[in-house]
Symmetry: C2
Subunit: 462 residues, 2 copies
Amino acid sequence: TRDDEMDGSIEALRKLYREGEEELLREYFEFLRFSSISADPAHREDIRECCGWVEKTLKAMGLDVEVWETPGHPAVFATHLKAGKDKPTVLIYGHYDVQPVDPLEAWSSPPFEPTQRGREVYARGAVDDKGQLIYTFAAIRALLRKTGSLPVNLKVIIEGEEENKSIGLSSYLPQVAGKVKADYLIIPDFGILGRNDPAVTLGLRGLTALTIELEGATTDLHSGMSGGIVYNPNRALVELLAKMHGEDGRVLIPGFYDDVATLSKEERSSLSLDLKREGYDAIKAVIAGQESGFSPGEASTIRPTLEINGLSGGYSGPGFKTVIPAHSMAKISCRLVPGQDPEKINKAITDFIKKTLPAGMRVKITDHGGAPAVWCSAKTPVAQALREAYSEVFGKPCLFTYSGGSVPITSALSEASGAATAFFGVGLMEDAVHAPNERFDLDRMELGFLIVARFFNLIGQK
Amino acid sequence: TRDDEMDGSIEALRKLYREGEEELLREYFEFLRFSSISADPAHREDIRECCGWVEKTLKAMGLDVEVWETPGHPAVFATHLKAGKDKPTVLIYGHYDVQPVDPLEAWSSPPFEPTQRGREVYARGAVDDKGQLIYTFAAIRALLRKTGSLPVNLKVIIEGEEENKSIGLSSYLPQVAGKVKADYLIIPDFGILGRNDPAVTLGLRGLTALTIELEGATTDLHSGMSGGIVYNPNRALVELLAKMHGEDGRVLIPGFYDDVATLSKEERSSLSLDLKREGYDAIKAVIAGQESGFSPGEASTIRPTLEINGLSGGYSGPGFKTVIPAHSMAKISCRLVPGQDPEKINKAITDFIKKTLPAGMRVKITDHGGAPAVWCSAKTPVAQALREAYSEVFGKPCLFTYSGGSVPITSALSEASGAATAFFGVGLMEDAVHAPNERFDLDRMELGFLIVARFFNLIGQK
């Protein structure tokens, strides 16, 4: 009966999900087919088409939609503000852009041809963030269809540059600060601790990223003729990068830890930061090298890190080439915790590089921008409502956790909206987010749908 | 008059060269158009076609030709044995294969579309070794055409894998050891000290090369979620490679210098090993980092080196990707001096790698083979005749020098032939051998032709 379906119970919502799964899947596959890689200028048109698809989809759901032409890629802003003044306003932030796909040869099916195997769907963006958005959209649409209304006032921002430091939206945000005011900000871009281990995420790390290019000559050289004469920029690069970590896993950039915030005992005790090893064991990951004095779970969430995300220089094709390359290159990034200022950290790294390189070696450092970390309170209504929703859907107590990842706009958006913030999602380590064969399963698609729908009902009552 | 042309004087030979330059150029361009990259299996067919061209060309010159089907790429063996038993037998060794061409975008014209600008010809192989072979072939042909004979008995080996450790010919050589016997072995794959500074090369360094692949997990990981948990194979790689050199530029692989030969005072005094800085200054090369206690000219010829020829791992495209890669890779090679055994050095490096890597990090090491160094005597007739030829052609005294480069088969071929060996050529540092925009000029093409022709006349009289 209509009453049953509308009682908001998990069973009623589950029925709603299953009725809509076919439509959801059709939409999901459409969304996944856009190769919306924000970091690569070659995909500018794909990004724009994907943005158009989001605009059309949110409009068809009954939301009022506008497109923000930021200096970077466009963002979609949608609202449904009909719950009344006594109801809270919830702001949802997500992103339609995706990470690059290389190494392409490691994919078992093409990254932009979504492929279902059993209950799993393989594609770039299957989870991050298209999968997490699809169940969020579906839950909102289901509530609207059944009741004609929502239990809260809703604002939605879906942008196209989250994977590229939100460059456009960051500089555009001040112009639309008045529009984004909200009581609660939720960001569906996160995970749970295990398939049956619910958790609400309250902390994100910040980020800063640099490309380092060295030049030892204006042309490649023969390593026989010139080996022993010139300083190989590959050697200068590995010597430089090797000096960035101590044997104890600590980052050796002077000043790196100066402003690092620490958690109070109480804050720490409410968090589950234990590493679930199973996922890492399954991919034979070498769990080692972290900052001494901290567990892997802590080192990956409440402590900053420095990683070498890319290395190149000289010949890496088949066979061998006895070359001393003209150039070498590294991409490095740091995950930051509260207190650390991305610009200050970038400057410290830049100073270190310039001081450490051998005399005469030319260096070009490109700053890819950064974002500060965010730690949210567990005591807000939004954190409590999310925890309650997870508990009900999983049928067990839900923990709080911190993520090691970053959503660059979070700090700025949290401030501009004035909203209490919390993070959610149903991702798992084994989803291969940012890696080849990214995948999501429809069981978690359903869990996500249920969490969003329950959250709306719960927060509407707070 | 015919007598003038045949008197063997430089002027007569110069006339011969100029009469034949058009034909030589046509042939040179044909030869350069084969993309005969031996290291890349994708070019197997181009290699074979290039071999066919060499076979046809030597046959047309009047030589008896056979093709050696080695386990690798084929080699051409040609002879002209009509000078009589009282005349010496000269064996010439060269190669028709070339180095890979990347970075392709750095070429100002396509590497296999030879392009003449003024007196310069740009193409992969313009010097190494197609250019050096073209003038050698032309000189032999000119002598044969004018006199119907040669002043020596001639054997020629032109192979297709010099740039890939002569893998095929090395294992094939014992089968044809009887055919390669000679009094003198000359290898036209070398240079002069400057445009007006003649030199005969008497020493080559040996070579050994490895590819090192690290695996830290079976899939790429998100550097936010996993940064602080897993040991990034990029980090393990730079830490490993950075430990291979000391601050004093010495190689720190245990045992690396154990068997290094040194020159006697007399040998050293007859060599010109001063670095000509102009070529390096022109390409803004950082001249630094060499083994302390040795000049750059010494460090690049009579001392061994270790170079990182290739680095890769993670994302190196536009923008940024916050990935911890599953794999990282380096290609390293050592130039060796007499006394150092390539296999022993390879084993020392392999042991060092395995001992140095963090526990759990998987490594795959591919041995690309090696070759020992060769130092030849300055007192042999072949060294003396080459020096005399250079002196006459340049009109000034000619020095002896050592090259920092390697010709992998030299040691084996020198032994199999029983021949006194010396190296020659007219290459210059600025020719960009093994690099983008490799080039050669027709002035040196003429010099090379004159040296070969004079050498034949001189050695025929010894």
